[in-house]
């Protein structure tokens, strides 16, 4: 039986996964981060969503 916290986290990640702006890899990184049970800093979240440098010229 999931805890209320786990249920909320899972629903959040499922809804986030429906967004086209978030990749499956980012979802999994978020899931791993939020499963630690520790307090998560804003920097750690920002790192997940930071794109690598270099964009192709159209």
């Amino acid at each position: 039986m999931l805890t209320p916290q786990q249920r909320i986290t899972e629903q959040f990640l499922n809804e986030l996964g429906e967004s086209e702006d978030v990749t499956a890899e980012q979802i999994e990184r978020l899931r791993a981060l939020m499963a630690t049970g520790k307090k998560i800093k804003a920097e750690e979240f920002a790192k997940v969503f930071s794109e690598p440098g270099g964009e192709d010229v159209p």
């Binding site: 805890t3 209320p4 307090k39 804003a42 979240f45 969503f49 010229v57």
Partner: protein, 252 residues
């Protein structure tokens, strides 16, 4: 559901040593003010969950089980502060003994080491709303309507969710600022490159055409395609330039 057979409490909160037999019945604790009635409830909660609700939530900043769980005369000896509960789990038809020390609040000793019994106790520990104390119930009932959602959050121990949401909001704000700055830098870099190469549109075909024209003049192989890793000066300084160019730029 769990039925309490008995509790043995030592050096926890205001209780030095106490044995209580519940015999699996609903019970009432009565006594004068300050005699330790709430301490018994704290001990039962601590034994089952490792937490003491009175030391958490609004108005309890700075209070911890580790520091404020032991009796005031034993704060330096948290290992001496413990609770032993003998319980019966009707759904399993099994009895168990749970011993939990303040010094190891998250690691109770459960006998027998039965996985089914452990699963039930883990579920209780993970669902604080199952072990509501009178104090928590009263706080919720007496809360102003506008504060009820906060009280629900406190009852369900969802503070961590609030902290996570706050961290996500902060991360979003920082990323938006970084994104705006990066967009400005990209625009500047593109304008500069466009100006230097004297091209009207920032398209790969126009860019490659202008770069390869210059590379041809300098005797360096053309670049076939543009990717994020392409270096427009690839091949320079490798000795593959035209001899005259090498002398002109002092490479030889």
């Amino acid at each position: 559901m769990i039925r309490l057979d008995s509790a043995h409490i030592e050096e926890l909160r205001g209780i030095r040593k106490l044995d209580v037999d519940f015999n699996r019945n609903t019970f009432v604790v009565s006594g004068p003010n300050g005699s330790g009635k709430s301490g018994i409830i704290d001990a039962i909660e601590f034994g089952l969950t490792g937490q003491i609700g009175r030391l958490m939530g609004k108005g309890t900043k700075g209070l911890t089980v580790a520091e404020h769980g032991p009796h005031v005369d034993m704060t330096r000896f948290p290992g001496a502060s413990f609770v032993t509960l003998k319980v019966f789990i009707p759904a399993l038809g099994k009895s168990a003994t749970i011993t939990r020390k303040v010094s190891a609040a998250r690691k109770p000793k459960i006998e027998p080491a039965d996985p089914d019994i452990k699963a039930v106790l883990d579920e209780i520990a993970a669902h604080p709303e199952i072990t509501l104390s009178r104090r928590e119930i009263l706080r919720f009932i007496l809360a102003e309507p506008s504060k009820r959602s906060e009280e629900i959050q406190a009852l369900l121990k969802l503070e961590a969710i609030g902290e996570t949401r706050s961290a996500l909001n902060t991360a979003q704000n920082r990323l938006q600022t970084l994104s705006r700055n990066a967009e400005g830098q990209v625009r500047t870099a593109r304008d500069t490159l466009q100006r230097h190469l004297q091209i009207s549109a920032f398209q790969s075909s126009a860019l490659l055409g202008a770069v390869n024209l210059r590379r041809q003049i300098l005797g360096v192989a053309a670049i076939e395609s543009l990717t994020a890793d392409t270096k427009l000066d690839d091949g320079f300084g490798s000795g593959r330039e035209k001899p005259g160019l090498q002398q002109a730029v002092g490479l030889t």
